[in-house]
């Protein structure tokens, strides 16, 4: 069974994102900070007439802060709210076969929480990133 995946780079790694989770890919403009919010919330940005919550993917994965220069984002909708997930770059959309995570694969930190499978692109394994897991869960206090 093959699904469409968006191949992107986050924190220098290639990842695959299920196309069903992707609303659009945009370069976001000015980000307005949200004081007192968790560091994972970079701020708010306008996307046409919509306000999206910008997620600092670096921090969400327990890595370092995503540099300000990175403005490319994957827009996803989780429970009716629009989120912009910051990414380094996106490559293209292609069909892949969804594979389970190889046994013995030791994902750590943030990666473990967001990885939900593998795809193989030209023999290169890419982690399937669950965007819904990148978005901070409700009830996560500042």
């Amino acid at each position: 069974m093959t699904d469409l995946f968006l191949v992107a780079h986050i924190a220098g790694r290639g990842v695959a994102i299920a196309a069903a989770q992707v609303d659009s890919v945009v370069d976001i403009g000015e980000i307005v900070a949200v004081p007192r919010a968790d560091a994972v919330v970079r701020g708010l940005a306008a996307l046409r007439s919509r306000v999206v919550t910008v997620i600092d993917t670096g921090i969400a994965l327990g890595l370092s802060r995503t540099p300000d220069t990175m403005r490319r984002a994957v827009i996803t909708v989780v429970e009716g709210h629009h989120y912009a997930i910051l990414v380094d770059s996106v490559e293209d959309v292609a069909p892949f076969t969804r594979l389970p995570l190889s046994s013995g694969l030791a994902l750590h930190g943030g990666w473990a929480a967001v990885g939900c499978g593998l795809v193989e692109r030209h023999d290169e394994p890419l982690l399937i990133l669950d965007l819904a897991a990148v978005v901070p869960a409700p009830g996560l206090a500042a």
Partner: protein
């Protein structure tokens, strides 16, 4: 049978029915023609069957007997055809089609308000019978079909339109920005100007599509009022005004429960029984007016009754009884704050719980719900004459009137309805202080907590130059900001959970400059900043202190014919009492109120009266009554008070409206009377079985203002306990005063009191209580 005779409430349903029926008729017109050509075609039959079936269902609901009869007859025949009991021949098809046509005509007639005569309908129905003669279908006079002026739309479509509108506004703004930066032809500018006007106009129109007549909210009320008043054996006449005022659909839904609750409360607590109304000189039927009107971008929904109003004294007593506030706090409250007690959680003003208004879960929830949608509730209470409850809600949920504040480099919106006033810190009226580590602002002598938004949000460290006085349900506080920029009407959307988790935001919005902005939640900020508000009383007390000019006083005619005045603050209430409740006993005049006895002061004779008005006076702790002839009005006392000569509870003479009026000295009144403490401290007697304590000690103690008990009821605490030296208390429930039998003390460190040394005993009790 016409829709015009119906209550306005049915109109919407009827309109919907007409629109729906027409839509279906148009949709099946093709089927009808096809069926005419091929009567045996079962598929065509189904569509027509569904149509008459639906019409029949709606008719029963809407009480349209003619349509019901027609559709029912057609349905029967079609059912028989479907079951194969009858074969559809041309005669049958014609008869059914005749009925379908007739339904269409009646529906048109309903819409245009024309009443069709029902001749020929029997013929139409008779034509359905299997053995019917070929009847010429009654040629109904064509009814001028009024062009349909309404269409049914999906709310999603409207929402989509709304968001498209916002996009358009943003695009226009972007265009304007681009043009501003370059040198443009005045013609282009004029075109842009026109575009802007059109867009603004469009925006208003689109907003209006979300509007619905408030009638949708009011239409259910007549029935509810009828049922509720019948259940409570009261007679209520409901008057609805302004049902054509429009309100956001969502708002109407959100207002439904609070309104129902308020009206139930009015009937239950406000309007008296017919007997009581007659006794009060009112018409037996109570009047309940529900009205709506628009005022700017606010809708005012008012519920007023001519019932008994709110008995503030009882509410206060209730609050004291439920220990929501201490007596001192209650005494310090202003009349408005006392009235607001009906919104206190866990306070039901009624002594008995009824099925209708429940048990005090009501009004606090009602107010919370209304405030949640950006509304406010105002009470106007006229005791004995009625209560007006005014609900103030914004026109739409999505568009909020806000004030934009700047902090550091960021801007935030604050709902305007939460803002009391905006003051500059420079200026004499405002001072900022640190009390311990808590910042406070004092604005015109009113002290309130200060929250610096820059500090809270870690945006600036500077002292805020501007204060926004924010009013929340818990209390007022000053929010320090850098600047107040603008007022703006904003379309507010809910923010994502990660943002809402901070607890300080109420939503987010995209103003015309295209930069997202957060809407601040005033209560949330207070909570996050750790503000703890003392009950409202504290704030009131501050105000009371500064109100030096003009002490309000009640002017009254005394029993000896003199006109006198007494400070309003000491009057708890004025009420008529039966003279039978007044007795000269144990050397003083006393009034029995319920199961308590309070001292009464009277300067004249009232023996000839059956009833006498008394002022119930209180100093916050003890109570007494002052009998008067008649209360006149509330006046403001002048500064000048001429000193009295002689004794008696007269503080002096004041000039009110050119007349010399004696001013009562409440201090003298209270000091001259044996004190009767409203809620006396409890003295726990450690009885030893001899009965001495109960017989000898109890009356003496109670004369000194204690209430004596031999064991504590559940939840009761004793201020002090008394025990004999040989029977010490088994567990320390209160500070203990020990009594001894011998006159002399047993050594210097013996703290016990000789049991007949009354002054020493009272002093020791008071001293222990204070510990």
């Amino acid at each position: 049978m016409t829709g015009l005779e119906r209550g306005a409430g049915m109109d919407d349903l009827l309109q919907e029915f007409i629109a729906e029926t027409r839509e279906t008729l148009e949709a099946i017109s093709g089927e009808i023609v096809a069926w005419e050509l091929a009567p045996a075609d079962g598929a065509r039959l189904d569509a027509i069957f569904r149509f008459v079936h639906t019409v029949k269902g709606s008719c029963g609901f809407l009480d349209l007997p003619r349509l019901a009869r027609l559709s029912h007859a057609a349905e029967d025949v079609l059912a028989a055809v479907r079951d194969g009991k009858r074969t559809p021949d041309t005669a049958l098809v014609n008869a059914v089609l005749g009925i379908v046509d007739r339904i269409a005509q009646i529906v048109d007639g309903l819409d245009s308000g024309t009443i069709l005569d029902d001749s020929g309908e029997d013929l139409l129905i008779a034509a359905l019978a299997p053995d019917a003669q070929k009847t010429a279908p009654a040629a109904a006079a064509p009814v001028g079909r009024s062009a349909s002026r309404s269409v049914r739309l999906n709310v999603d479509l409207l929402d989509h339109m709304m968001s498209g509108m916002s996009d358009m506004v943003l695009a226009r703004n972007e265009l304007a920005r681009q043009l501003r930066d370059s040198d443009v032809d005045p013609k282009v500018e004029a075109a842009l100007e026109r575009l802007s006007l059109t867009v603004a106009d469009m925006r208003d129109t689109v907003t209006r599509t979300r509007m619905q007549k408030v009638d949708a909210l009011f239409s259910a009320l007549p029935r509810m009022v009828r049922d509720t008043s019948a259940e409570l054996c009261k007679a209520v006449n409901l008057v609805i005004e302004g049902a054509d005022v429009e309100l956001d659909r969502e708002m109407i839904e959100l207002m439904r429960d609070p309104l129902v609750h308020i009206i139930r409360n009015c009937i239950d607590h406000g309007i008296e029984t017919p007997t009581a109304r007659r006794a009060a000189g009112k018409p037996e039927t109570g009047r309940l007016v529900v009205s709506a009107r628009q005022s700017g971008n606010q809708i005012l929904i008012e519920v007023s009754d001519d019932g008994q109003g709110i008995d503030v004294a009882r509410i206060v007593a209730k609050a004291a009884e439920k220990k929501l506030y201490t007596p001192a706090e209650l005494a310090a409250m202003s009349e408005t704050s006392r009235l607001q007690l009906i919104f206190a959680p866990g306070l039901s003003s009624r002594d008995t719980v009824t099925a209708t208004s429940g048990r005090g879960v009501g009004m606090d929830v009602v107010r919370a719900n209304i405030e949640q949608i950006g509304g406010r509730v105002v009470l106007v209470n006229t005791p004995g004459r009625g209560l007006r409850i005014i609900i103030n809600v914004p026109l739409t949920l999505s568009i909020l009137s806000t004030i934009i504040v700047g902090v550091g480099t960021q801007r935030f919106a604050l709902p305007r309805q939460a803002i009391e006033e905006i003051v500059m810190v420079r200026g004499d009226q405002v001072r900022l202080d640190m009390i311990g580590d808590a910042a406070t602002a004092t604005v015109r002598r009113k002290r309130m907590p200060l929250v610096s938004l820059g500090d809270l949000f870690k945006l600036t460290k500077d002292t805020p130059p501007t204060l926004v006085i924010v009013s929340t349900r818990e209390g007022d506080y000053a929010l320090g900001v850098d600047t107040v920029l603008d007022t703006e009407e904003l379309v507010v959307k809910p923010a994502s959970p990660a943002v809402m988790a901070t607890g300080v935001y109420a939503g987010m919005t995209l103003p015309d400059n295209g930069l997202p902005m957060l809407l601040l939640d005033a209560s949330g900020i207070a909570a996050v900043a750790g503000l703890r508000f003392a009950p409202v009383a504290a704030a009131d007390a501050v105000i009371l202190e500064e109100v030096v000019p003009g002490i309000p006083a009640l002017l009254f005619d005394d029993l000896d014919g003199q006109r006198r005045a007494i400070a309003l603050a000491v009057i708890d209430r004025v009420e008529p009492v039966s003279t039978e409740a007044i007795r000269w006993s144990a050397g003083a005049m006393r009034l029995s109120v319920g199961d308590a006895i309070i001292p009464l002061y009277a300067v004249g004779n009232f023996a000839s009266r059956r009833e006498v008005a008394v002022l119930r006076l209180t100093d916050g702790e003890s109570e007494m009554a002052y009998a008067i002839a008649e209360a006149i009005e509330i006046v403001e006392l002048p500064f000048e008070i001429a000193p009295p000569r002689g004794s008696g509870p007269i503080a002096g003479v004041v000039l009110i409206a050119g007349e010399q009026v004696e001013l009562i000295d409440p201090h003298a009144l209270f000091s001259g009377q044996p004190v009767m403490i409203a809620s006396p401290p409890v003295c726990l007697l450690q009885v030893d079985g001899s009965g001495w304590m109960e017989t000898f000690l109890k009356p003496a103690l109670e004369a000194s203002g204690y209430r004596c008990v031999t064991s504590l009821a559940r939840g009761e605490t004793a201020a002090v306990a008394l025990a004999m030296e040989d029977a010490p208390p088994c567990e320390a429930l209160a500070p203990v005063v020990t009594l001894r039998r011998s006159k002399s003390a047993d050594g210097d460190d013996d703290a016990s009191i000789y049991r007949y040394d009354r002054p020493a005993l009272i002093a020791a009790l008071a001293a222990r209580r204070a510990v």
